[in-house]
């Protein structure tokens, strides 16, 4: 049993094979692998006896259930109105310059992916971003680089 097989198997054992468990199981795979690969989707479909197309269709509905390759740290910069007003473009520019990739791309070392996302619920502390589940607010071009540098240097 490879790592992914065990992961899916354990998640299904924990949550059960009822359809209501699908989201927690997909989220569990995301936690470990940051995205849902074709293999992972097929394994989940098989373990839960749900058509693979249906699992894929469900996953692609949710913006946090990525089906494209993602880095270890997924950066999601809020692009909704208040963050847009408070300079999210400059923040993205700073991130792009620092990581040398564009929005939607993943670094070669698969450490970072930059994405934009809809309202994160931090409009009073805009601009805001998520790095995986962690929130960073009132970003500046300097602070965002400091934050990412820490992620980059950590092992």
């Amino acid at each position: 049993m490879d790592f992914q097989e065990k992961l899916v198997h354990d998640l299904v054992a924990k949550h059960g094979t009822d359809r209501e468990s699908l989201l927690p199981i997909l989220q569990g795979v995301i936690d470990q692998e940051r995205y849902l690969s074709e293999e992972a989707i097929l394994k989940i479909a098989k373990e839960m006896s749900i058509p693979a197309a249906d699992v894929y269709g469900t996953a692609t509905f949710y913006s946090f259930l990525d089906t494209d390759l993602r880095g270890k740290y997924v950066i999601r910069v809020c692009k909704t109105i208040t963050c847009a007003m408070k300079g999210k473009n400059q923040i993205i520019q700073a991130i792009e310059n620092f990581l040398k990739i564009k929005v939607g791309e993943t670094t070669v070392d698969k450490k970072f992916t930059i994405l934009q996302t809809n309202c994160l619920g931090w409009c009073h502390k805009a601009p805001a971003m998520l790095v995986n589940d962690d929130v960073y607010t009132e970003l500046t071009e300097e602070s965002v680089v400091d934050i990412l540098r820490e992620y980059r240097e950590e092992n």
Binding site: L42, A45, K46, I50, P51, A52, A53, D54, G57, F61
Partner: protein, 596 residues
Amino acid sequence: MSNMVNLTINGIAVSVEEGKTILEAAEKLHIKIPTLCYHKDLCVAGNCRVCVVEQVGNNKLVASCAMPVSEGMEINTNTLKVRNCRKHIIELLLTEHNEECTKCYRNGHCELQELSAEYQITNQDFIDLVPDKNYTVDRISPALEKDDSKCIRCQRCVRTCAEIQSVGAIAVAHKGSEMKISTVFDRALDEVVCTNCGQCIVHCPTGALTEKSYVEKVWDAIADPDTHVVVQTAPAVRIGLGEELGLGAGTRVTGKMVSALRRLGFDSVLDTDFTADLTIMEEGTELLTRLKRALVEDDPDVALPMATSCSPGWVKYIEHKYPEYLPNLSTCKSPQQMFGALAKTYYAKNIGVEPQNIISVSIMPCTAKKYEANRPEMKDSGYKDVDYVLTTRELAVMIRQAGIEFEKLSDENYDSIMGTGSGAGIIFGATGGVMEAALRTAYEIITGREVPFENLEILPVRGLEGVKEASIKIEGTVADWNFLEGVELKCAITNGLENAHRLMDDIKNGERFYHFVEIMACPGGCLGGGGQPYPVDDEVRMKRMEAIYAEDCELPIRKSHENPEIVQIYKDFLEEPLSHKSHKLLHTSYVKREQY
């Protein structure tokens, strides 16, 4: 009796059962409300919004397909507000839709086209969204094509694939402007659990899902003077073709069809009914052999129930979903493929044509047959047994292209050899037909008497019901079949893969036991196949079914074993059922496939 609810539609009072929708109430008053995502075969979606109507006292419009009636409701279906909104919705759908109607396979048969004509959408002000969409077309399968640029996202195909067929090859994926109908990771239909049944096609309102057409290939073959083009016609085509050509559901056109095929230029017009009869001989013998092994020899390895293998949609389904039951599947090829294998051997020899010069075409009510003909196993004649498969709809296209006034044609007869079928062969086209045909022959072999049903009509196996059961107690057996004396032969019949799925689960869980099961992938059997005319619902299927049984009734020979051409082929060529030659040409094997 359930409670009745009173309401008015356009000022006219109507009373309908509680739980009915506004749309159904309007139907009762013969008020037509346009629909797109609604289909009688499927659960209600309420997502296209074309069927919106005005409800007095409600400041929103309501979707008539999804809104249940309530007492005192006042509905208006044709107000200015309703018309304007509907027109907007049709316009919106058109902006996402590839509007090259003249280049569309379904030009003239498209519900969206019809609706936009009805609402006179002549000047489109909204912005064309198609150029910015990365629409893809999947033409990889030998049976089906999926063109996302024609899709209106009504999800009828998705509901069909899940609800009627329990396959789930396609689903709704992504959201917002990106929302689309997709297989897993947008793979080709050929690379997923799709059974090629084509039910998605007959339920699709537009040209987003279509059969892969081989019309041009067939025209080329006919035009080639060095090729002998032989055509076979499946039982259900003769009761579907007239409908496709505008003669109304349930019109029987066997003689006209034969006549038309000759005029199209086919060198020989033959009948799949012949190999349907042959299937009964082979499959019936296979069943009896299995029963003998089970009952006399106590062989624990014999796989029962034996399941029919005529329906290629069902065959692919079981290969994906119940691979452990592949030994239960009859090894008999479908009538189409038996015909193909014989066309390039028995028939070729008989008429003195080299098999490499024969092009074998079949006209089928089915899209899965296109896939079946392309299976790598299907080359037992030494050549591709069936070269091209056309649907009933494609044959109608050829007839129109040839300028044939179909209705005016006189009736003609099939050629021979391989052109004679019995009534038992013809009822293969309806769910329960294979079972009935098999019983007519098997019972007689075992007992020496006809099946104990008036006029040979085994009524318990007939009808549109999802799962039918029948049992026949075998009494008064002849010497060879003494071991079956007193045995109650248990049979089940299903149509539609969702029903097959239920039946298989029951068998798997040990909740039901049968000796023989007939399974057809499509609702109603082949008469409701993916290659038949659209639109279709149970009312239409019922009319087609009546036509099939009427056809059976009128034939002089109604039992497969009495078909003189069958007697002849065993005498001249095959020797006996399950002979070495039969095994080589008429039987096949199956493959285990990915389950999801």
